[in-house]
């Protein structure tokens, strides 16, 4: 583990039957970085995020978070340790309003899930209202999530992931399915929030423009392994990356 790494991954391997999704991946994420994971489809990016997030059984290797091993930790344990996340496919509570979703996130973050007290709920609602304003959903507080646009849902999920003030935020393709304008809107919001709080971001992204604009560091994955890592400028210049990922025309 490198010094000052918030997250350190060593020799992580994950197979699905005969298929090797991740093959001996080493990865270090210092605190305060906005780190992008890029690579062609099937490179193992989402699997890597899922391994860190404790979503997959049978992960080989070691994952350290804040110096403590969390390789086999459950998602709920990771959330309590300070890892927040959003999903590739939007996963908000669809049949609840945006306000209820956000309130739920704050109730959980406050460790008050079993409370019967209205005052606890009122406090969580105050926090939720403020966070909805922050992510630009103040006007949609009462809207049912199923009726929100994809972009609004992603912003809601981002806000929910921030509720327990995580040290590390994992965003798996946060802009998938969104228009170019929506993508930049969301990721500008994410970057501003990360800069403001000094937290750490690891995100999977296909839009290279977004990556170059937001990321302070980039890791390129191909066929379950790390191909290259560096600053966005270094990655853009890397010939291997150009050949494999960008098709060699940059």
């Amino acid at each position: 583990m490198k010094e000052h790494s918030l997250l350190s991954v060593r020799g992580v391997r994950k197979t699905f039957g005969q298929f090797v999704a991740l093959n001996n991946v080493d990865f270090d994420l210092p605190a305060g970085e906005k780190h992008a994971l890029i690579g062609p489809n099937g490179a193992g990016k989402s699997t890597f995020i899922a391994c860190i997030a404790g979503q997959l059984p049978g992960v080989e290797g070691t994952v350290l978070f804040k110096g403590e091993e969390v390789t086999a930790a459950a998602p709920v344990d990771l959330a309590r340790r300070g890892i927040g996340r959003t999903f590739q496919i939007s996963r908000a509570f669809l049949d609840m309003s945006a306000m209820e979703n956000m309130t739920s996130a704050f109730v959980i973050a406050n460790g008050a899930w079993a409370s019967l007290r209205r005052s606890v709920l009122a406090n969580a609602e105050d926090s939720a209202r403020s966070m909805l304003e922050t992510v630009g959903l103040g006007d949609h507080a009462g809207s049912r999530v199923a009726d929100l646009s994809l972009g609004d849902r992603k912003r809601l999920e981002f806000g929910m992931a921030l509720a327990n003030d995580p040290d590390l935020l994992l965003l798996d393709e946060p802009t998938a399915g969104m228009s170019i304008k929506e993508r930049h809107h969301l990721m500008d919001l994410v970057a501003a929030r990360i800069d403001e709080t000094g937290k750490t971001l690891l995100f999977v992204e296909h839009d290279i423009d977004v990556v170059l604009k937001i990321a302070t560091r980039v890791t390129v994955m191909v066929r379950g392994a790390v191909l290259a890592a560096g600053t966005p400028a270094e990655i853009a210049e890397n010939e291997e990356v150009q050949a494999v990922y960008l098709g060699g025309h940059h």
Binding site: V107, W113, L121, A161
Partner: protein, 317 residues
């Protein structure tokens, strides 16, 4: 879903008027009607407890009668076998049901969806079999009778009033739970357990909590039923009672707080009135369920909601 319609002064007025109307019918329509209303209110409480699981936790139980039965037997055995005063035993019934819910629930919440439902069925069948076979203690298939004056010796009308009061108090308690942070957590896990888990919520713990709560309310209903009948039979924990409660929730309206209550009113009143005309009650029930599910897939409560909106009684934004 509408978690619980906001109670405007008008809605409080309507609810109060319905309670007064129910009490008037109880007092004026004769003993037979009081007995029907009492059974209806007890089943409404039982169905509402199942509704808590189904509509908010999205947990379909095929064995909820186990906790109704445990409530009934918890009370009955305490009085009949341990000479506990009835005033104290009425609390033992729900506690026994809650403990049953804790033990069986811990097992059931390990699985989800249909597998969860099958486990609840298995647990209920175990409960039923124990009650049915343990002659020395539970009386077996002959049950336990004659251990107390039915209804604490109260008149039919007075006992119905008592049950009405208990039902209203239980509904208040359920509404409080639904609108609390716990209620929000229950709904969150019900809607997307993975999302809830990623936020730091342990889904099984939440599911077990609502399972136990629903079991306690079912136990209260079971205790009331044992007092009402002055007896306890293994059938109270049988599949028939579970199916009745499931039908009530679906008929009344899944995903609505009032679904169980409205379903119980429809089912019990339908049975009462249909049996006056024909003995083919089951046939009529089957037809009624068929028609209602096809015409009103969201249950009868949805009609009330639409009517309320049409009349401008809905929530003002």
């Amino acid at each position: 879903m509408n978690v619980l319609p906001k109670m405007t002064p008008l809605r409080w007025g309507i609810a109060g008027a319905l309670i007064v109307l129910l009490e008037l019918v109880n007092r004026l329509a004769g003993v037979g009607m009081s007995l029907v209303l009492t059974e209806m209110l007890i089943l409404a409480l039982f169905a509402s407890s199942l509704n808590l699981l189904m509509s908010y936790g999205h947990m379909v139980s095929f064995g909820h009668a186990a906790y109704f039965g445990l409530g009934a037997y918890g009370f009955t055995l305490a009085v009949a076998r341990f000479d506990v005063p009835v005033e104290l035993a009425v609390f033992i019934g729900p506690i026994v049901a809650g403990l049953g819910g804790l033990v069986f629930g811990a097992l059931c919440v390990r699985l989800t969806e249909i597998y969860f439902a099958m486990l609840t069925l298995a647990c209920a069948q175990i409960t039923f079999t124990v009650l049915f076979q343990w002659y020395d203690f539970t009386g077996g298939d002959t049950g336990i009778t004659g251990f107390m004056n039915p209804r604490f010796g109260l008149t039919e009308q007075n006992f119905m009033t008592l049950v009405l009061v208990v039902l209203v108090l239980c509904l208040f308690a359920m509404a409080w739970i639904v609108k609390s942070p716990l209620g929000l957590s229950i709904r969150s896990v019900g809607q997307d357990r993975w999302r809830a888990e990623a936020l730091g919520l342990a889904p099984r713990r939440v599911q077990l909590t609502v399972f136990v709560i629903a079991s306690v309310f079912a136990g209260i209903a079971g205790t009331l039923f044992a007092v009402f009948q002055g007896s306890a039979f293994p059938d109270y924990a049988g599949l028939g009672f579970t199916l009745d409660a499931l039908i009530m929730v679906v008929l009344g309206g899944l995903n609505s707080f009032w679904g169980g209550l409205v379903g119980a009113v429809i089912l019990v009143q339908l049975e009462h009135w249909v049996l006056m005309v024909t003995s083919h009650w089951e046939l009529m029930l089957g037809l009624a369920v068929l028609v209602l599910v096809l015409v009103l897939p969201q249950g009868v409560v949805s009609v009330a909601g639409r009517l309320s909106n049409m009349l401008g009684l809905g929530r003002k934004k």
